[in-house]
Symmetry: C2
Subunit: 200 residues, 2 copies
Amino acid sequence: MNRLAATRKGVATRDALLDHAYAIAAAQGLEGLSLGELARAAGMSKSGVFAHFGSREDLQLAVLDHAAQRFTEEVLVPALRAKRGHARLRAIFVGWLDWVRDNRDGCPILSAAIEYDGRPGILRERIVALQTRWRSELRRAVQMTIDAGELPPDTDAAQVGFELFGLVLAYHHDARLFEIEPAAQQSLRAFDRLLGRPVS
Amino acid sequence: MNRLAATRKGVATRDALLDHAYAIAAAQGLEGLSLGELARAAGMSKSGVFAHFGSREDLQLAVLDHAAQRFTEEVLVPALRAKRGHARLRAIFVGWLDWVRDNRDGCPILSAAIEYDGRPGILRERIVALQTRWRSELRRAVQMTIDAGELPPDTDAAQVGFELFGLVLAYHHDARLFEIEPAAQQSLRAFDRLLGRPVS
DNA sequence: CCAAAATTAGCACGATCGTTCTATTATCAG
DNA sequence: CTGATAATAGAACGATCGTGCTAATTTTGG
């Protein structure tokens, strides 16, 4: 059972497979990701692909982790360069919107959350863990804004995190079903109304 | 091509099939709804089920319409008994939350919106139509609240509709992945902060 | 360069998919 | 009650699914 790639080429192939798998899962969901289609996309045999992950479920888990890592690198890390408080919180929010926009075929994490929220299993547990971590990150950023005196001291950080999450979900929904521009403006407007405009 | 049920028993069977299909689609999404599983659930043959709808896609469309009708009857219609303005808007919102809560295995409409937002076709078009209609209904209710003097006259009804939608999406997400009670309280709190408490 | 190990392909399996065709049975209008 | 029609079953189709097994090929450390 060689789950882990052990050779140079093995690692490279696995990475390439994950990229293809990410694209498929973005468009069709983790449930719509099949070994056959992935093999076709990567130009190799089904069993060759299979050997890299050990099972379909392990492939789905790998894609989920891959997506989470991308998200962290593309949204959270860049925002950490902004000053703690309102500036950073807004950078996180805007980066998050950009993430949704740039993943034109869909966001595998959001799709997975809907697909597995009612199906017990390892995948659901992983998703819950990811979302818990992210919400906690969000709360931290809000709390820093409170501590910086840029939000009233009695602000409920979890409540703000909940509402911010809702704004991004609505943005995702409207941008993909209706038009992206109005959705972006409504999201930002709601953010500014909720958090107050930056103190410049 | 007998798409329409023409006999008494035909209609009854079709209705029963739709109920089963609704339950399956709620749990697994429209994409996870197969003729085989539906036939098994209904206790009849696959071809017998097939004959009732003509194709899988037509079955999915029928389930979608079925869900939309249920939603209208269970959320919108009851709320129309409340007085125009803030009372009705809040009735809509609370009824909507209850809809999410009561559909314990999931909401087929929300799942479908995520599943098909990036896949062109009749299903996507139908979903866009449904969501457009519902958002318009929402805007109407907000506008009535403005007209009743229970919201500032310069309120942007579409903006409020967008944010309300986001609150329900966040509620759906958290209630199904985390715990339902905090999610319900956060939703209601956000509603009251956004719309103001009822005037009496 | 060699041998050990990792990678990949090929093939087969049982299962399920949506769909078509042909019977058979149930329902209904007259 | 009867003849027409609708409803349903049954079997078969080609495809695709995830997974196992075996064999060939590549890569790698020594």
